[in-house]
Each structure stands twice: as structure tokens, then as C-alpha cells.
Subunit: 430 residues, 2 copies
Amino acid sequence: MNGLLEWTHGKSAVEGVSIEQIAAGCGTPLYIYSERGLRRQFAALRNALPREIDIFYSIKSNPHPKVAGVFVQQGAGCEIASGGEYALAIHAGAVPERIVFAGPGKGRDELEYVVAHGIGEIHVESFEELEMLEQIGSALNQRIAVALRVNPSAGSGGGLMMGGAPTAFGFEEESLTRAVERLASCKHLKLCGVHVYTGTQILSADGLLQHWHHAVEVAKKTAALTGGPIATIDLGGGLGIPYFAHETELDLEVLGAGAKRLVEEARLDPRLAKAQFVVEPGRFLSGPAGIYIARVRSVKTCRGTTFVVLDGGMNHHLAASGNLGQVIRRDYPIVNLSQPQSDAESTVVVVGPLCTPIDTLGRKVTLASPRTGDLLGIMQSGAYGLTASPTRFLSHPTPAEVLVNNGKFEVITPRQEFFVNAGRGGCATA
Amino acid sequence: MNGLLEWTHGKSAVEGVSIEQIAAGCGTPLYIYSERGLRRQFAALRNALPREIDIFYSIKSNPHPKVAGVFVQQGAGCEIASGGEYALAIHAGAVPERIVFAGPGKGRDELEYVVAHGIGEIHVESFEELEMLEQIGSALNQRIAVALRVNPSAGSGGGLMMGGAPTAFGFEEESLTRAVERLASCKHLKLCGVHVYTGTQILSADGLLQHWHHAVEVAKKTAALTGGPIATIDLGGGLGIPYFAHETELDLEVLGAGAKRLVEEARLDPRLAKAQFVVEPGRFLSGPAGIYIARVRSVKTCRGTTFVVLDGGMNHHLAASGNLGQVIRRDYPIVNLSQPQSDAESTVVVVGPLCTPIDTLGRKVTLASPRTGDLLGIMQSGAYGLTASPTRFLSHPTPAEVLVNNGKFEVITPRQEFFVNAGRGGCATA
């Protein structure tokens, strides 16, 4: 599975560190991230894309500053969607000019904070937000760099995205003229570019390129309306990773070649000749480098089905339980980390410890036959794992997060024992 | 909506306290629980059921000790599903003898802890757990009171539950004989009774009674196998509350009358003559007394659909977004708390502030036309609200929890500002 695991005498390791050793030190369940794996994903994308396309890491996929910091060190900017994510991006080492802020319901406090502390660009999503930003710019006597987030019209992007549907995100493409006109009258706002939402978990390079082409069209339309140059074109995120056997990785060669042509063609328009392109992947960068690890508490058979009960479940990895939206429904790749992969396999149901039938992590999982005490690993879990999970549900301990790097590991989030803290009000694990 | 809200000149209040006043004091979003509402639900159920049926509050539905404490003060026991919930139950004022512990993946550390500190009954779910408990009893030189959790066979309960399906919960009814035999040979375990899983969110009194009848049958079978009396019969939980217009409340009169007959008939069996019956509702007790409140940040129209963007969403109330299992899919009742209910109504889509299309709280909500700054309330939110939500997702502040009682309110969980804490590792809101 994606080259993250190493095997010696049937025992698993990451970057030369035994997983059993980490588990013994930090307790289970836990999350392990491989720094090499994070770097590898970034480098692969960086090398595939032409220089003119900048990479901004979408922090929401894994907001830990140590994870985001790996990408920042390699040259990524940060795409944030809340004031809290701004603080995390700064903590990860990002400079304010390399941060962009999108989101359909930004609060006035968040906007004031980022404007006061410095930000690259704010992606405006509504007329109300335009007015609010103009007021903030006026109060702080600043000219704020903004891009218009545009919600594409029907027919764009080859059917893979939500083009044409009503959504809460951005300005409808149909109202672009009105938005540009309103912006032109705002003395404290400076229109730098456009941002077009792409979709999520897209594995087709051609599909992505179609979206990107449409984003360039939107940029041209905007340039024609303003009559001036466009400084930035945010192509959105949505770069997917494979979760299931039938899925294949995004073809970076096809994507890179298409992106090169896209940039060359766009630059033929004199108003786009100096535009900086941006992609903002999250899942693609952080997802493949993370593993959620839990220990088998019980193996039981009920009416012919074998259930493997772990010491963690949907409370730590909601996405793997199929309860985080409809995009990735079920059965993340799961590996028995404690038995030789050449062992006899079983097909089992993998469940968490919570007293609810929705705490199911894998419905038809084939892996080296698990025994009580084994460690199982849910792969592709570096994105939308702990950050998107209801850690307090059923009041279990919260897992440690560990960053492994070249033979060493660092606990970047300590485990929280529930017993100790349970007395302290409702925020017992906090 | 369930008598929780009071209206004066178009302004909403709970137990005489203005909601706008609480929101001004604690910030938004927030959760409000009405102590009167909690007491009312408990009293209604207590008065409906015969004395022979004891009520144990299922802590997982809302584990805040101040909430659980309201039920404990009225005489409820506590049903827990983790070691953390044991600590919370004790903190809520429960005595150990009035706590029962169920769950498919109990850890050895959790079992040792509760046995050492005292517990009413442990509901055993597998042969492996039997062995582990026998070892713990032996090590601590104690005789541990246990009940067998039984997973009913096909055909039981009238099709409303998962009878006959393979699950991770309890012993298959088909292996009851083997379980009783194994238990008989365990010197440090004492078989007190049985616990039969019921299902969840059941609104039909007749449906519930069918399950309960089956539980009594299982108890009789068990008594016949042991040859001795049965001390406790846990009928399970599953008592539902209405979320949608087409749903009606559980008919407590029918349930109470049926339960009375059930108890009378069961007692005809001499081995069940002194049995204590138990029900373990969670949602039914805590759900109706809670409101999730968020403020409107933006009202925008896109392609003919009006979107109301709130300052909180699935990060605080996953269940309302339809992402907590399949039982309650969507569109909790939502009320505009800031406008007279006689106002002109709009049908809108209610979304949270997160930068993802799955952060949708209501897809077709009709309410007094909302404006930016209004407070909206999601009703029936006292159960599986904050406790079951991914509060760190997108790094927003976490909401306060407030308990209102007869003209006063108490902040039982303080709001956590994300900005302040964001520097501290991955557990930024912690």
C-alpha cells in the first residue's frame, strides 16, 4: 500500500521505526504520519506541474502545524478556511503573504484578525462579505487584496462538479459582472484574481484539466470586465487519492502536460500574461502519508461472520466509518500490521469499540488473519482523519499523533487519557 | 416545538431566560439545555412505567455530568459504555451499584477499573470477555455480577430490530446454552440476568413491547438453563423522539399499559418472580430538552435557492447534518429564535460555515424569514449533539453548553476560542 510500510520478518515499520514500538510507547489507538511520505507527495506534484502553478496546502485536510510545516518548508503556501486555521498556518511557519482565506461563512472577527495580521488574499464569496470587507478595510485604513470565488455555471467542467447547481459557495458565474462592478466601487478592496471551486476527490487528470480550463475562462471574462490584468488564478483543489482496489492514482504526467499547455494558452491573453496560477490540494498531499492504528480487542464470530473489534473506531476516524459525507463511503484499505502479509487471509468485518452499530470501519475486509492483540492499520488516513472525528463520542481516550522521520519518531499530539480528565465538566477530553 | 420555547413580543426564551441574553453572554454557537425539560421527560417515563421497571440513563446520548445528574437526582441509574463514562457517571452523582456497563469492545483496563471501584453489573458480550472478567475477578478476589447480553435470533421483535443478523453485539441467542454453561464454571462471576438489544429511535410503543416480550422470553430460557432465579432483565433502550413533522411521539400510555401486563405475565414464572426490569433510554430523556443555537452570518441567494449561512454547523452538530449514521437523516426542526413566529415564512437551505458542501443542516426548512444576525435554533438537540460532533473540524471555536433552570442559567462547559489556543500542537481546541 503506497510504499509507506516496510516489512521485516513479518513485522511492520515506517521509515525504519517499528510500529509496535511506537504503539508500545504512545498507546493505541494512534495516528502515524511519515514525513518522507508527506515530502514525497509534495515533490511528485511539484515536479509534475509547471513552475507557473503555485501549490497552496489546504490546511483543513490535516491542520497539525507539524504536518502543514512539512509542506511549508518545501515551498507551499496555505489555503485556510477559518481564523483558527490562520493561526495554525502561522504556527506551521507560513508567512502571511502566502496564505489565502476562503469559506462561505467567514466571521467579521476572523476577517478583522487576518487583515490586521496580514494575509495574501481573501476569497470573497458574497455581496454581504464584500460590504463587510470594505468596512474593515476602511476602519483599518488598508487596501485588502481579494479574489472572487466563482461558482461555475451549468455545463462547465464536464459534469464532474457541481456547476450550475445552487450552492452556498462563491458568486454564481451569472452574477460575475455585478460582482466586478460592485468591487470596482470599493476603495479599500483590490481585485487580484478569481478562484473557481473544482470538486473533491477527483482521480481523473482530464476531469481536473477541464475544470482548470473553465477557471481560465472565468479569469478571462473577469479580465475583460475589469479591463486590467489578472494577478492570480486559483484553480481550486480536489486532487484525489485512491482508496479502493478499483481506483488508480491520479496520472500526474497527464496532469502536468495538460497544465503546461493550459498555462501557455492562457498566457496568450495579454491580461493573463503575468498571472500566477494556484492549486490548493489537501487530501492529495496529506492523505497517503498517514495511518490510523488500533489494536484488536476481540475476534468473535456471529452467525458465520467474523467481527474484529478494535480499541478505536469512528470516534477517531469518522471518514473510515462512512459517516463523513458521501464521497468516500466505506472500506478504506486495512492491513494487519502484526502478522506476515504472506499469512492465511480472512475476510472480516472491522468494528470499533463504541456501543453503536454505526461504528463499523470495514464491511468486507480481507487481510492476514487477525488475532486479539494484533495492530491493524487503516491506510490513506493522513487527511480528514482525527481532525474530522468526534473524539469525545463515548468518552474514550483520544489518540496520539506521531510524526516519523528517518528512523526517529516525535509525538506531535499527546494521547489524552479519559479517566484522568473525566471529572472536568463536559469537555472531559479537552 | 415540544414546549421548550416561550415567546414574548417575538423574542424567544427558555424557562424565563431570554435566549438572546444567553447568546450575548456566552457567544454563539452554543447549546442550551432546559433542566425543566430534562425533568419533564424523566417524570413522564417514570410515571408511565410500572414500579418494577427501573430507568437507567444511557450516558452516551449526553455525557455531561450536569445533564446526567438531573436524571440521577430523580432516581435514574446510569448505563455506561466506556471507562470514561464510568467516571462521568460517578461525577454525576451515581452510586456504583446503580451503574451497568455494556459495549462490544471493553478494554481490560476499563474492566479492571470499574471492578476495583465498584459497579452494579457488567453486560458480557463475548466468550473472550467472559475469560477476561474471570481473570480479573480472580486477581482482585471478587465475585463480579454479570448479565449476558443477548443478540436475538431471527423473527424476534417484529422486524423492527436487527434480530438474526450478524452483529458484534452480545452472544447470539443460538449460543445462549453454551454461554450459560461457560459462565457456570467461572468461580468469580455471578450471572444476574440478561440484556437484550432493542434497536434505536423506535417511536412505536407496540414495536418496543414486542422487543420487551422477547427479552422476557430470553430471560425465561436463561432461567431454565441455570435452574435459578433471574435477578435482572435489561430490556434495552431505543425509545425514540420525533424529529420530523410526520412523526408522532411515543405513546407512553400504550407503552405503560403494555409494560404492566408484561411484568405481570413474566412474574408468573417463579424464577422471574423477583426480577428487576430495566430500561435504558438515552435520546428519549436528553434529546427534547436541548437546543443548538447559531447566529446567521449571511443570507444569500444562488440560482433561486436561498442559503442561510450560520456560524456553526456539522462541527458542532454532526447528527443534524445527516452524517451520524442513517437513522436520522436530515432536517431536524429549525426555528428562527429572533423573529416573531407570525412573521412571513421562507423556505431556505441552512448551512454551516465550513468550507465543504457536506456542512448542510437543513435542506428544505420553512421558518420565519431569517436575516443576518438572527439566532436560529435546532430543536431536539439534547442527545447526540456536541458529544457526537467533530468539534475541531475546520478549527472553529467550540460552543458553550448552558443549563437553564427556572429563570437562571449556568455555563456548564465554557466556550473555547480557537485563536487563543491554536498554537498548542494539534489539540488546538483542547
